[in-house]
């Protein structure tokens, strides 16, 4: 009799925990992400990867062109091109190298975002999505800093 009377309570408790478990299974950031959201993320990641690969190709070509210009200049003016840069020239070279390194790092982060997002979309690993957005944040951060510096230099040039 006691067992029969407690049965509905046991069923109710079990149902409550099952519901809770179901909610946990589909939750992301404390709420669920629809299928089309994952699809959008996958497509965004694929286009981001394409952009990053093209950017890397452009950097490679630019680097080759940069080295070629210096080598040709050096050969034509028998070392004067390299040593005749002066302080401003060397500073320009240094800034160019720093900017290139920053760009390469930022596009590497974009590539990482893409790879991790695609992995997440295929395997549904929640940890990878967090890492992916960490990479995306780094990409936007480096690019924002670059734009800020460009604007500062731009205003400085206008003033002088």
């Amino acid at each position: 009799m006691v067992l029969i009377s407690t049965l509905p309570i046991i069923v109710l408790i079990k149902t409550f925990f099952m519901l809770d478990e179901q909610g946990k299974e589909q939750s992301l950031f404390g709420f669920s992400l629809p299928d089309y959201g994952v699809d959008n993320l996958r497509k965004a990641a694929k286009w981001a990867r394409f952009t990053a690969i093209v950017a890397f190709c452009i950097f490679a070509i630019a680097t080759i062109a940069f080295i070629a210009v210096f080598m040709v200049g050096d050969a034509m003016y028998s070392g004067a091109f390299r040593f005749g840069l002066g302080v401003d020239g060397q500073m320009g070279l240094f800034v160019t190298l720093v900017v290139m390194c920053a760009f390469i790092y930022s596009f590497y982060q974009l590539l990482r975002f893409s790879a991790l997002s695609v992995k997440y979309a295929e395997r549904d690993r929640a940890t990878q999505l967090g890492d992916a957005f960490k990479s995306l944040r780094m990409f936007f951060l480096v690019m924002s800093i670059y734009i800020l510096f460009s604007l500062i230099i731009f205003f400085f040039t206008l003033l002088t």
Partner: protein, 151 residues
């Protein structure tokens, strides 16, 4: 009712990962907004300077006949190119701004559909970049072909 994504591994890691994930997504959205605003400001500034320079060039009296015609054509071509660049920048920046706004709202309201829409905006921004990359590659290939023909 739409089907939800099965996130099996979340059961184990849920408590540890959730706050960190929320933080990372919100931070990415925040920096995307800064980047979009920076892009718009820098593009706007460069156009203002360019238009001032064009006006100065247009008002100067030097050059006549063919030189003046070539200059006018160059300015027209430059303006046409600038309008295309401005359109690309505005579309991609708006995509990023919408991504940022919707993501922050989605996290605040715990709304999955809004987050899905924000990923759609991110996709459109990257799509614009991707198409620009293709166009850039085509121009680069055409330029290289032209150089090869000249050799």
């Amino acid at each position: 009712m739409e089907q939800m994504t099965p996130v099996e591994d979340l059961n184990i890691l849920e408590n540890e990962v959730h706050p960190e994930m929320e933080k990372q997504v919100a931070e990415a959205a925040k920096w995307a907004k800064y980047f979009a605003i920076g892009t718009l400001v820098s593009t706007g500034m460069s156009f203002i300077v360019k238009f001032i320079a064009i006006n100065k060039l247009g008002s100067s009296n030097s050059g006549f006949g063919n030189v003046a015609q070539i200059r006018s054509m160059a300015i027209d071509g430059s303006i046409f190119g600038d309008i295309i660049v401005l359109g690309i920048v505005i579309v991609s920046a708006m995509g990023l701004l919408n991504f940022s706004k919707k993501t922050q709202k989605a996290i605040e309201l715990k709304d999955g559909h809004l987050l899905a829409q924000s990923f759609g905006n991110l996709k459109s921004a990257f799509l614009v970049w991707g198409i620009c990359s293709i166009v850039l590659l085509v121009f680069f290939a055409l330029g290289s072909l032209g150089d090869l023909r000249n050799l």
